[in-house]
Structure formats: C-alpha cells, structure tokens
C-alpha cells in the first residue's frame, strides 16, 4: 500500500475550511437568535406561541438535515422560488441549528430556580426584568456544554451542503479526490482538518465554561 499526498491540495482545502467556518459561524449565530426566542416563547409564551415553538422544534429535529437542505435547494425552485446554493445551505443549517439550540435553551431556562424569579419580583422587578437579569444570565452559563456540542455538530454537518455544490471543505476534497483518484489520502487530510478544528473549539469552549462557572456551585458549601 503506497500513499501519495500532495502539498498542492492544502491551499485548496484551506480555502474550503474557511467556507466551512463561514457557514458554521453564520448558521450558529442566526440559530442562536431564533433558538433563544423559540425557547422563551415555549416557556413564557401564551398557548398559540407555545404550540408554534413546539411544532417548529419537532419538525426540524424530527427530520434529517439533508431533507431540509433538499427542500430549500430543490424544493423551493420547484415552486418558483429561486435560491442560490449558498443561501439554501445557510438557511437549512441555521433553521436546523435553531431548533436544537431552542431545546437546550429551554432546558436551561427551566433549570433556573423559580424562587429566584419570585425574589426578583418581590424586589419590584417586572416579569421582563426577571427574565433579563435573573433567568438569561444563568441560562447562558448552564447551556454552554450542550451548546458547545451543538456548535461542533453543526460544524461537522455543514459538510452535507457539498451535495448542493457549496464549495466548502468536503466539496473541495471530493473534487481533488475525483481528479487524483486518491480518495483515501485526500479524505484523511480532510478528516484531520475537521478533527483539528473540532478539538480546538471544544477546548476553547471548555475554557469559557470554566471561566464563567459560578464559584461554589457543585461543590460543598465552603462556609
């Protein structure tokens, strides 16, 4: 078994990684905003808002991302709405991520002690102030571990948009592989690149989590 690698691949794959990171950043950000709104809607909203939020997360979490990508890329043009491949990819990834982020935010919101919100109300805070100053800051701290998993999952699943010709890392790997007939070598490099970024992100997020950890929590009272 002789392996053939080429340095020429690296700039091409590097540019692909930049597109992958771009997709991930945009999708996680849009997903964050929609996700937190869905979660607040699900916990504090009235009945119609709650039903809508639950329906959204159920639909997007219950169907494969690939189907969602195809609905945006093939589905919408078939009913006369033209979407570029990059936009279709970004939309599908963002809306999909929003559903997962909403679930994590909801769990964290519900884990904030209700008594603390009552204490804030007893000080004269409005419901909105209670959410802003008591619930959200704790929610954001608690959600970091599951949110990190979602970021990493999104980064990996962004590779699916190669199928609609978004020129990210996977797409470029496939092009090189089909030109050089060196699938194994090319995809080992691609795999290492993904793995490296994944490990880098998990470590950064673990550091953030440690930094914002509330002293004393989870340990025995220090008196």
């Amino acid at each position: 078994m002789n392996l053939v690698f080429s340095l020429d691949w690296l700039p091409i794959l590097g540019r692909g990684m930049l597109v992958t990171l771009e997709l991930t950043t945009i999708a996680i950000s849009i997903g964050f905003v929609i996700g937190i709104l869905l979660a607040i809607g699900e916990v504090y909203g009235n009945r119609p808002i709650r039903v809508l939020s639950i329906a959204y997360t159920t639909l997007f979490r219950g169907t494969p991302l690939l189907v969602q990508i195809f609905i945006f890329y093939f589905g919408f043009p078939s009913i006369g709405i033209m979407i570029s491949s990059f936009l279709a990819g970004v939309l599908a990834l963002s809306l999909n991520s929003a559903a997962y982020q909403a679930e994590y935010f909801r769990g964290s919101i519900q884990a904030v002690k209700k008594d603390e919100v009552i204490a804030a109300r007893a000080l004269g805070m409005s419901k909105l102030q209670g959410i802003l100053y008591v619930v959200i800051p704790q929610t954001l701290r608690m959600v970091i571990p599951s949110w990190s998993n979602q970021l990493i999952s999104l980064l990996k699943f962004s590779s699916l948009v190669y199928m609609i010709r978004v020129e990210e890392l996977m797409y470029r790997g496939k092009i090189i592989a089909s030109l050089t007939f060196r699938s194994f070598e090319v995809f080992i490099i691609v795999a290492m690149m993904y793995l490296g970024v994944v490990i880098f992100f998990s470590n950064i997020l673990r550091m953030v989590e440690k930094k914002v950890r509330i002293p004393g929590l989870g340990y025995k009272s220090a008196q």
């Binding site: 169907t63 990996k156 699943f157 496939k174 795999a191």
Partner: protein, 222 residues
C-alpha cells in the same frame, strides 16, 4: 389530479427505500450498541492502555463528520482494492461512529451508579462479571433510556447521508421520482420529511413507553 398520481405511483418506490432506510438504521444501532457497551465497560474498568485506546477511538469518530467517514470507508478503502458495497461501507462507518456516541451514553450511566452498591455486593462475594451483570447493567441501561433515544433518532436521520455514496435508501428513491416526474421536488421531499418524522417519533414514543414500564420506584431520584 397530477400530483395525486405522482404520489400513488411513487408509493412502491418510497416503500422500498424506507425498508433500506430501516435496515441501515437497525444495523447502525445494533453494531453501535454492541460495540458501544463494550467500549463503555472497557473505559470504566479497563487498564490505562485500554482506556487511552478507547478514548482515542471515541475522539476520532466523534470529531470527524459522518460524511467524511462514509467517503473514507467507501471510496478510500476502494482505492486499495477493498471493494465492499456501499451498504456494507455505510454500516461499518456509521456503526463505528454510533458506537463512539453510544459508549459515551453508557459510560455516563455506569459512572452514575453509586459506588456504595458495588461495595455492598463485593462484600457479598460477587465477582466482577456478576457485579456487572446483576448490579451495574440493569441500572445503567435504565439510566441510558433518555440519551439513548436521542441516539436512536440521530441514527435514523443520519441514514440519509448514505444517499451520498449511492445507497438506494428513501432519499435516493425520492430523487428518482423527482427526476422522472420532472419536478415536484417540494412535494416529494415534504412527504419524505414526514415519513422520517413518523419513524423518529414512533421510536422515541416506543422507548419512552418501555422506559416507564421498566421503571423502578424511587429510581432516578437523588
């Protein structure tokens, strides 16, 4: 009604695809379950060398996108003359990946069993195998239900990725219908979406039912 005819004509194709999808899902989950449990126990009870090896395996399979794994196992191995079918390559790649995920679920569950119980049965004279069989496993599996049902849902949905290497599962059949009928992509993919939605939530519901049936009073409190 054109649309209705397209749907009716498409049903046999979609059903064929659905069967392949379910076969893939069952294979991923079964391989992942067997190997995942083994890795979990190895990580908890194994020596240093085994623990490090398992951790490496898990890190690699969790850190690489499923799509890249599929390509490596199908096209990559094909380069060296291992000509396995797309279905077999899918099962190996995704089964190993699922094992990595499932091992995390089971490891967490095993570690959440209170050590006092293990000490207690050690005092009764049980050996390692007996301790695992009669104390650890029955509790660990119960703890695992909720995260495991997430894993089930993820595996079912991820079978769609095998479309990329040419397995004729439900997405591939759907694509055929779209191409043959010149359009109707929206209609077909929405139908497929609802089929996935159905099997995903049916499975979750079934697992939930089973979990409640097997529930031990007071379990999970504290």
């Amino acid at each position: 009604m054109d649309k209705l005819i397209i749907i009716v004509n498409g049903i046999p194709l979609l059903l064929e695809g659905l069967i392949v999808t379910l076969e893939l899902g069952a294979a991923f989950i079964a391989l992942g379950l067997a190997l995942g449990l083994a890795i979990a126990f190895a990580q908890v009870y194994g020596n240093r060398f085994i623990t490090i090896f398992c951790a490496g395996f898990v890190q690699v399979f969790l850190g690489i996108p499923a799509m890249v794994l599929l390509f490596l196992f199908y096209f990559g191995l094909g380069e060296f003359g291992f000509n396995i079918s797309a279905f077999a390559a899918s099962v190996i790649a995704m089964g190993l990946r699922s094992a990595a995920y499932q091992s995390q679920v089971f490891r967490g569950a095993i570690q959440s069993i209170r050590s006092g119980q293990i000490t207690a049965v050690k005092a009764l004279g049980m050996n390692l195998f007996q301790r695992i069989r009669y104390v650890v496993l029955p509790q660990a599996l119960r703890y695992s239900f909720a995260p495991w049902s997430n894993e089930y849902a993820a595996q079912i949905k991820d079978t769609s990725l095998c479309y990329a290497i040419g397995v004729t599962e439900i997405m591939r059949e759907g694509r055929y219908i779209v191409v043959q009928t010149f359009g109707n992509a929206m209609l077909i993919y929405i139908i497929i979406a609802f089929i996935y939605l159905g099997i995903t939530y049916f499975g979750i519901w079934l697992l939930r039912y089973w979990e409640i049936k097997l529930r031990v009073p007071g379990f999970g409190i504290n």
